[in-house]
Symmetry: none
DNA sequence: CCGTTAATGATTCATTTGCATTATTTTTGC
DNA sequence: GCAAAAATAATGCAAATGAATCATTAACGG
């Protein structure tokens, strides 16, 4: 207990120490300290030499940094970083235990791994940048059409329903599939069409992107590949992984993107929250909502 | 892209493979496979010998397991596990960098943290057990009704659409809100009603659970609390966190539960995959699908 | 009972590892 | 401009690592 506490203390000090070195230490060492700050976890998995290679410094620089940080040597330094990584893993063991020897445990663990991979892909810096780039345009668009059918209908519906609560440029998705195309034919260059489809790509959504192109509307494609038929000629393409058990690709990444887009828009809009509030008031007034039972505490 | 995709695939398959080995492999190897399942991250940080020491097996067993898993040797195995660990860490630094000094960066990082927390809650052993308990009953149910309105309509739609592809007891959700109650009045004790609603709880879904109770159907409530009005008298309650930015609760956890339920059902059903196949064939026949452009490689 | 085979363990060997030592370059004070 | 000092790079070495090979043990059929 005492020992782990002490180690945690050193862990907490690690980043500040590195930052300090990046300012006070000699050039090469300082540069390497910065590199370590940006590639923290490489330390956990690399030897002195391989780390030196990756950072383009001499192997000795690695050893000297370790000592400069107060460690006996590189081994001690690395052990500390590994400890930090392990801390994030706690709980995985318990789940593994729970899953083992259970019918269908494979499926669940596959889903968990897939979900994590999908989510991390969406949360990559590039993807976030891409999503952020879309936000300002969506905010000023005259109309936003969300188009998705079959299993992707849920995403389209979520987008336009929640979007419609906060913004007045979201067009609500029609119940009858055919009307999507009717609706789109009235779109124009100031409108955005958010098209959502994954393999197998549905004809209706492909057709929707074609119409969008014809009327000059910009297409934001949420799909599984740049080679997707709905990515052709699109204004923006958000390519997503759909990992899942063999028989069931996951649309989870798509929902996360939808939520990120909406959150990004709301964060930049002054009225969004007020709009939601009045939207909910309206529904409550007409009896659409009901308060839950009072919760103790 | 190709390479990272491939690695991702192998990563996702890693745990199932270990589970398989823990059942089919010779005793020592099987025992070690189980140990690895429970001490997943030790692999990332240990050498053959140190891992063997920790697991109390011969060093050779470690090498054998690696090969049995399809790797060239221990190095390849460890690299894969490290990749999995990195996936969880990756970007903590890069992402922080990307988010910093960016408009709305807070929102994105909040979403990321929230999403992770929500997903982890669903993946907790207790929650997985709960979900798994529902599966057998759902498989033999006469009819399964998925009920959700407003933002939760997307979840209900996803459940019944994808469920309907693989199983014939899923009832497709009606477009008009009113018809939900009409439909439900025809339900009976052999039916399951999956009710999805979060605060503010929608009157229609609450009413649906009441009708379900009246006709003797069992209710599986996907909601945010045991105190939820749709949890009262429910057969099973799946309480979910909906963490998100203040103004926008996330329904991501609900989608994950939906996917887990479906995956769990499919894994236990012999015809499910065949049903999906024939379903897709049917749609393709009528021109609902279109092939994507050929992908290079 | 034996002999065959699969499973496990021990030994060996070329590499790689971390670290100390030595050599070289760069910086600094005058 | 140059010597002293500091910083950086190169070298050497004992200990470790990963993987191949060989030896032992257990399981099973005839």
């Amino acid at each position: 207990m005492g020992r782990s506490n002490m180690q945690q203390k050193t862990l907490i000090k690690l980043r500040p120490n590195l930052t300090r070195l990046s300012q006070t230490a000699p050039p090469t060492l300082a540069a390497f300290a910065i590199w370590v700050l940006d590639h923290y976890d490489e330390v956990a998995f690399s030897s002195i030499r391989s780390l030196a290679d990756k950072a383009n410094v001499n192997a000795n620089t690695v050893t000297r940094l370790s000592k400069e940080l107060g460690y006996d040597g590189y081994d001690a330094f690395r052990a500390d970083v590994q400890l930090a990584l392990r801390a994030r893993t706690i709980g995985y063991a318990a789940r593994a235990e729970a899953l083992r020897n259970r019918d269908g445990g494979d499926v669940y663990s596959e889903m968990i791994a897939a979900n994590r991979a999908n989510a991390e892909a969406v949360f990559s810096p590039e993807m976030l940048r891409l999503i952020e780039q879309c936000v300002p345009t969506l905010l000023v668009a005259r109309r936003i059409y969300a188009v998705g059918v079959r299993s992707c209908y849920s995403i389209a519906h979520y987008l336009s329903y929640v979007g419609g609560m906060a913004f007045n440029n979201f067009v609500s998705v029609p119940a009858q599939p055919g009307s999507i195309l009717d609706q789109l034919s009235r779109a124009g260059p100031e409108d955005i069409v958010i098209a959502i489809s994954f393999e197998h790509y549905s004809t209706e959504v492909i057709r929707a992107t074609q119409i969008a192109r014809d009327v000059g509307a910009r297409v934001l494609s949420i799909t599984d590949s740049h080679a997707s038929p709905i990515a052709a000629g699109a204004w923006r393409v958000v390519p997503l992984p759909m990992e899942g058990p063999q028989f069931m690709p996951s649309i989870n990444a798509a929902l996360i993107v939808a939520e990120l887009l909406l959150a990004g828009m709301m964060a930049r809009s002054a009225d969004a929250v007020a709009n939601i509030k009045s939207f909910e008031d309206r529904i409550e007034k007409f009896g659409g909502y009901q308060r839950g039972a009072p919760v103790s505490g």
